[in-house]
Subunit: 282 residues, 4 copies
């Protein structure tokens, strides 16, 4: 408790680290861990994540924010974000019929591995309700049959003001650009990946038809370019000719749940800094 995280990024310039750490030090904070990265020795982009302890943090947040605003925004033109570590992210998980990613998130949260609260599960199918209910989490079934406009309207009603993150855990519906803008919080997606890529329907059969030996998964933030958003986490697993297309899909599911859980954990610990279409994951 009394642990804060300060995320700063912007155009690099001399003295930023000194300025931030002096400010924290003057406030009486002790830096617990600090990761800093510049995209170039001179004139690049600056990224910093600082974890600090400060007694009576909740009472002192406002004062700290004012100072940060003056120094970082005002003088240095940087963007920053200050969060209390105890303030867990409120997360909505979207699913369709596949349970592997959802169950891994629910189980890890229960174990205390994911510093977040899953406040709702939303699905276009009723199937997974029975898996979610024992965890005491509300399950909202919003059928796709009423049309995408209507469904997304319902989604926004459910989400508005209630969540800090949306996780698409094998949610098989397209997300519109309108929804992305309206929802106002980051959206993380997971999908299978291959080297090389197999585009379009039936990717596992296509992969099998070319004798693929490695299948993977990619977690990324959703942008208007759908599956082209900045990558958070990736992993891969070995397969062989013994595996049917169905076996490949199962191995894929194993990688997907692992990659998505790691991506969500990194996000909830404020480890991910976005810049353009790339990420810095401290």
């Amino acid at each position: 408790k009394d642990i804060g995280r300060l995320i700063v990024q912007g155009t690099d310039q001399h003295g930023i680290v000194a300025s931030i750490s002096a400010l924290l030090s003057e406030a009486g904070a002790n830096i617990v861990s600090l990761d800093q990265h510049s995209s170039d020795p001179e004139g690049g982009q600056f990224f910093q994540r600082t974890v600090f302890s400060l007694p009576h943090l909740p009472a002192r947040l406002e004062e700290l924010r004012e100072k940060l605003d003056a120094r970082l925004t005002g003088e240095l033109g940087l963007s920053w974000q200050l969060v209390e570590a105890r303030q867990r992210k409120r997360v909505a998980v979207f699913v369709s019929k596949s349970d592997h990613c959802l169950l891994d998130l629910l189980w890890r949260q229960r174990r205390g591995e994911l510093p977040m609260d899953i406040v709702m599960v939303v699905s276009n199918h009723p199937d997974l309700a029975k898996d979610v209910r024992p965890f005491g989490i509300p399950y909202f079934h919003v059928p796709a049959s009423g049309g995408k406009v209507e469904a997304e309207r319902r989604h926004l009603e459910l989400l508005a003001g209630n969540v800090d993150l949306v996780v698409l855990a094998r949610y098989m519906q397209i997300i519109t650009e309108d929804f992305l803008e309206a929802v106002g919080v980051p959206v993380i997606n997971i999908h299978h990946s291959f080297l090389p890529a197999f585009i379009g329907a039936g990717p596992y059969q296509k992969a099998k038809d070319r004798g693929v030996k490695l299948i993977g998964a990619t977690a990324h933030y959703v942008t208007k370019d759908l599956d082209e958003g900045p990558i958070i986490e990736q992993d891969a697993i070995r397969v062989s000719h013994r595996d049917s297309a169905q076996d490949l899909a199962r191995s894929g599911a194993d990688v997907e749940r692992r990659v998505l859980s790691r991506a969500v954990a990194a996000h909830c610990e404020d480890r991910i800094l976005r810049e353009g279409n790339t990420t810095v994951v401290f």
Copy 2:
């Protein structure tokens, strides 16, 4: 010594394994290892690799081939290949300026890890001659400046009858369909791979720009569709935002040499069976 390898493939039907093993048994051979795979329980493709020991194998090859021809080709309509394990594949390695894949092949061969003889190294650049000569292997510099037709004519002159395999170890020239047909031996290539794919020039920079966390390499047989041939081996390595595009290329080189050497070893041990655009690697 006196170890033989029998590779059989074709349309699956009842009794193939029994037929092959009876034939070998009658000939006095002892089966050392046998890998068999059918693409479907009924009516699929059949693949078998059998390693056996048979005293005085060299003297008995012809007789064995006649029997295999009668039984496998004649009665069962299968294709087969019989090789002596002691008969090492003769290999030509094509390179440009990058040394990582070439050196790994040379080292592993010298260590006795690759059952093959590198009989020549061919390059469109003179740079790597000094690395090859200490291994006692001829280095042929065939400049690209004379035009592709002329260069490939020279290549075919050098290769004709002299090699059982061509390995493109980061050879940065396009191979024509005419060359592939004329050379008459398998050609293995290595190239970088990403999940997702980054197509065109500067793939490492593109990968960096999207925050890629995993880069890989794929070894495959070259077909007329260039980089679309059947995959032999793949692997991947983790990277992070700390890696520059140049660092990514270095990590890529590490994976490439490892993947290519494994693919070449599998080929030289007759472990790879091709079918359509896929492979079975026993």
Copy 3:
């Protein structure tokens, strides 16, 4: 359906493969996949796993067993096992308080990834009953407080005739040699592993104190030498100085569940052949 698996092992000699495949062929079976391994080209140990399809298999098992007995046991002195693939293994899972391995087995079975039936969960603690009951599987709480002799007597009552495999899924009680002999079915265990080993209590703290960068897990058959039995499956995961001893234990749990599930799957598909203190996993 109508898929059988024939496992054969013993002292290698000429003609075994031919003999087996002729026998299956004469019976009208079609070999779907065959893996064979000899520990030496001459005079080693022989291992073979054959999967075949044979119409009306259940009705023909007895006849087949008689033939195998005559040919393999009688003439060749080999041991063998013939199983129907549709005959799922009946499994008892033993747990204490950790849920990660148990839940992974339950999920995968429900998904259809593990060809087995979990017929009971046995624990020295009541804690995990609530996780097991929704799966419709009986949970037996056998407290350790009554003494080991009494507890193992209860275990044997529960297991006798009811199970084909016992899986110790982070069961933190010592298994006695008497129990192992009495239970009469294989017992699979999972435990953490390190390179190098950290023996005794608090292994994760010891690993942290030496700056370990890789932690792993090993699944093995339990023998009277406890954790020294033949290894089935292993894997490892990267860690760093950022990880506390508790984080290491969490990463260890991730590897453990993955490794145990793969080991159990391999066992239930009759892929594992034991010989002395080693395994052949086809």
Copy 4:
């Protein structure tokens, strides 16, 4: 050029980061990357690695060192080290007869992947001289036949004042505690690792006899407890029953060269901070 690295460690206390970054900032330096770690939120050990650019760095080193001495040593009681990135470490590589680790180091250095100069190779055997000479590096053959005392006396003569690091690249002689004290520079060693451990002679055969599925390698600093020193880097590779003990040793060699090269690179980039028997690798 003009890139410096400042390594600081000691007992954690409030304001260290601020103090260091203020000092660098006042000196006109721009922080390029900063990694900081505390072993505990309060009262633990403090570790920081800062990379900075400072125009005319060589001319300003002395002044900077004076300031660091006053502030870090004097006021805060911390230990620190300031190095110019352009100042490459001078390295002696010790080998016996195995070439895999040596060749990987030589090749990576030539490619520019390792910021160091290999100033000599020392061996108790003459065998590898021919591999080293083409790289223009002196090879000193110090036979073990003259006794350990005499050999180590020769080693110290060769090394005194000439090297910043000794790398044991599969050097099969015991290093005495006297040598370690006299040599006065860090010594890195590589050895095979297994989960679980197989102690004593013939580890690969022992591993095979227990059906091991994973073999690894560990790079560590040498301390008087020989192979018990702080771990720098580890990795592992999958093996199977198909691999003979000799194959396992070959796979082990592949992991060893990879792990040792990564460990040496990390050391030469001043990424490794030691504390007790553990390491922080930034």
